[in-house]
Symmetry: C2
Subunit: 142 residues, 2 copies
DNA sequence: CTGGGTGTAACAGCTACGGCTACATCCGTG
DNA sequence: CACGGATGTAGCCGTAGCTGTTACACCCAG
């Protein structure tokens, strides 16, 4: 449960891209994004690489290189982002295998997996209801 | 999102206590529990301390010391456990404050907090529907 | 008083992440 | 076809949190 911030970084990146896209700037660089997030451009590129693999952003190489959204901000849900930066979900099972001679040690991992799967599915349902455009609206309203 | 296993350990502990309680053993020691979880008794006592603070288990000192469930296993939900081992939820905001001169940097944290709160609330609803007795049943069925 | 068990501090090892440097690679543009 | 700005990625360091362990003070029924 000790959370990392990769999801937050990725959403920030997309929200910023949606903002400047509304101002006519279609292609942006990792340096420009890094200025808003206040971190190193390599961190941004790592995040963008995940999003590119998920088909959420597209990259252009060569002169005038940079990144742009693969589709409208309304069509990018936070579930898309969650899947893109995925790393195993909020819960983890035992680090060391429990005692297999004990009935609880033997059966608890599949039982817990079922519960954890349901909990994560609930998270996905919530994230699916929110788009990057929603986040941008809410961000600018504050 | 990089998960830790404290939730898993705590549920395992309670499930085991519910099992042996059904066999008539009311009071158990951290050593006995550690044998099922396959870890060090101090790890178990740390977990039990969280559960004790949450009112889920009670401790007896002195000779014949040990732990017992504070109430029926049916009346202990995984949400109770989640609250007991709580450490900040599945998502984290930026480690470094984003650029406050940027509209996105300024407004995204409250916007994201709202989304994350909804997602965590969904997790709680799922966990609230499952009791330690349910987990024990499911564990022994496998 | 005794002794078995709890309560907790302290430390080591491991893992993961964020931040950073360095450098190879790519490809419009002139 | 070379140039140059930006990507792609390996590699390293410092930090942080967790697990596992030792050590020892404290508690209290018998």
């Amino acid at each position: 449960m000790s959370a990392n911030s990769r999801m937050t970084i990725a959403v920030h990146v997309l929200t910023w891209m949606a903002l400047v896209r509304g101002r006519g700037r279609e292609v942006v660089t990792s340096d420009q994004i890094a200025a808003s997030v206040n971190t190193n451009p390599v961190v941004i590129r790592r995040s963008l690489a995940d999003l590119r693999d998920a088909g959420v952003v597209v990259v252009r190489h060569g002169a005038g290189a940079g990144w742009s959204l693969a589709r409208e901000a309304e069509a990018i849900s936070l579930l898309d982002v969650y899947e893109a930066v995925r790393d195993g979900g909020p819960f983890a099972l035992h680090r060391n295998e429990p005692n297999q001679a004990c009935p609880v040690g033997r059966g608890i991992r599949p039982a817990l997996s079922r519960v954890y799967d349901h909990a994560e599915e609930a998270v996905r349902r919530e994230l699916a209801r929110v788009s990057v455009a929603d986040v941008l609206r809410d961000t600018l309203a504050a």
